[in-house]
Amino acid sequence: MSEAAASMNHSAPLNERLWQRHTLAQKLLRFAVWLVMAAAIVQSLRTIEVIPEFLYDAPEQMGDLLQRMWPIDWAYYADGVHAALVETLHIASLGTLLSMLLAVPFGLLVASNLTRHRMLNAVARLVLVSTRSVNSLIWALLFVAVFGPGPLAGTLAIAFRSIGFVGKLMGEAIEQTPRGPIEALEATGAGKGAQIWYGYWPQIKPAFWSIVLLRWDINVRESAVLGLVGAGGIGMALDTALNLFQWQRVAMVLVAIFAVVVIAEVVVTQVRKRVL
């Protein structure tokens, strides 16, 4: 059977052309990428300072940690967790709202079909990349240094961190809007503002709200850790409990964060289903 197939290959002139999925250059390029990845992994494994003994007894240590967390100190919820949890939610929501306002100008500037100015596009892109690459904890450190500890620093940290995310995705949504309605508006002599308000906004509206919802969901998670550097919210309760080795309280805080994150995700899914 296979011999027959092989002989057919030889006899049929059509099959003499070798069909390849990738050219030689593509193959080499792919191989090079794999090689670089492998080299990076090997190099990291060799030079990273991991003490092997720590790795071996990691499962045992984790088990020990979990054991100390049990039973969970449920009574602590009313005393120390509830207020901090609500504060966390406020930080996340206000931060998201503020980032919405801050991100819109950059989102408009970064879209190359709306703003036909290379320099402005590049500047907006740089701003968006910088706010995204500085982590919310680092933003929080900065704002704690400026405004002092407390939820104000946390809210601003969340807002600034989110500008990059909201602005980038908004810019991409704008770039994908069809030309037709915009050209129609241009033909009526509509100014830039009218074009944005009547041409772009109605088309990116669903995408925009969906981006903001998604970011709120992420921000609920992120705002839970801001307290570690003194920027308010449930992280403060976590930090205190950790420093005092009150593991059962730590467990309570973690359960509370987990519950809020799951609830936020359910809320986002429901809102998306009903409204968008």
Partner: protein, 264 residues
């Protein structure tokens, strides 16, 4: 004259009652939350003053401690690479186990519960727990970013598998292929491009997060950054932040180049 005004068409895209109510509700909530969090104008103004001083102390950037910066950055890169590689390898089977169109309900529920658990806690919180369990250093950072990677890729990969076309799977199955072969030739080719996309995105976000886990002692440049903050070395803080931004920027360019090579 009046007749003309009355004949004017209604304004385009007028906000509906629902939209107006929602906007009002959001505004009221924002005011309530601002009140609850006790923001005050005076504090904001003093903060701006502090901010100006703060920015003043950031310049000129301190370039005398490049060795500390470099060793931190190198460790961050290593954490990101190792956590991505290990996390991606682990999330491949977990994603397959979580796909409802391939696996029985019991298996998918277990896999999905694991993924939700990995996703729900912020990498920094996970890093704190690992620091307590395995000690300070890069290992805790690698482990915590691995957890984040499994949480992200595991979820998206399972969803991608659920969206594949059943026809190709049936075609492979009709040849009498074993289950492994159905996965290898019917399922994976359909989702591989998206898997590469998720992986590169996660590599990117691991790079960002690896600069942060150091704040809680899990290795990387975050430790140097936090120390500089505590010593008020704001000029060195600026150097570190600028390096991080540059690093993430280069990472983004590289990731896009890799995506192009693989046609994602």
């Amino acid at each position: 004259m009046n007749a003309i005004v009355a004949d004017r068409p209604t304004q385009a895209f007028r906000a509906g009652v629902g939209a107006r109510l929602a906007a009002l509700a959001i505004l009221l909530y924002a005011l309530y939350a601002i009140f609850q969090l006790d923001f005050s104008w005076a504090r904001f103004v003093t903060g701006l003053d502090n901010g100006a001083k703060f920015l003043g102390r950031m310049f000129p950037p301190d370039v005398s401690k490049l060795d500390i910066l470099w060793s931190g950055i190198r460790e961050s890169l290593q954490i990101a690479v190792l956590a991505s590689a290990a996390g991606i390898i682990i999330s491949l089977p977990i994603g397959l186990l979580g796909a409802r169109n391939l696996m029985p309900a019991g298996v998918t529920w277990t896999a999905r519960a694991l993924v939700v658990l990995c996703r729900s806690l912020h990498p920094v919180i996970v890093a704190i727990l690992f620091v307590k369990a395995v000690g300070f250093g890069a290992l805790a950072g690698v482990l915590s970013l691995m957890v984040a990677t499994v949480g992200f890729i595991g979820k998206l990969f399972a969803e991608a598998i659920e969206e594949i076309s059943a026809k190709q799977v049936e075609a492979v199955r009709a040849t009498g292929a074993s289950f492994m072969n159905v996965i290898l030739f019917g399922v994976l080719p359909q989702v591989l491009p998206r898997f590469v996309g998720f992986s590169t995105y996660q590599l990117d976000s691991n790079l960002r997060n690896s600069t942060m886990v150091g704040i809680v002692g899990a290795g990387g440049v975050g430790g140097a950054l936090f120390a500089a903050f505590q010593r008020f070395d704001y000029d060195f803080v600026f150097t570190i932040l600028a390096t991080i931004v540059a690093l993430v920027f280069i990472g983004e360019v590289l990731v896009n180049a890799v995506k192009k090579v693989f046609h994602v």
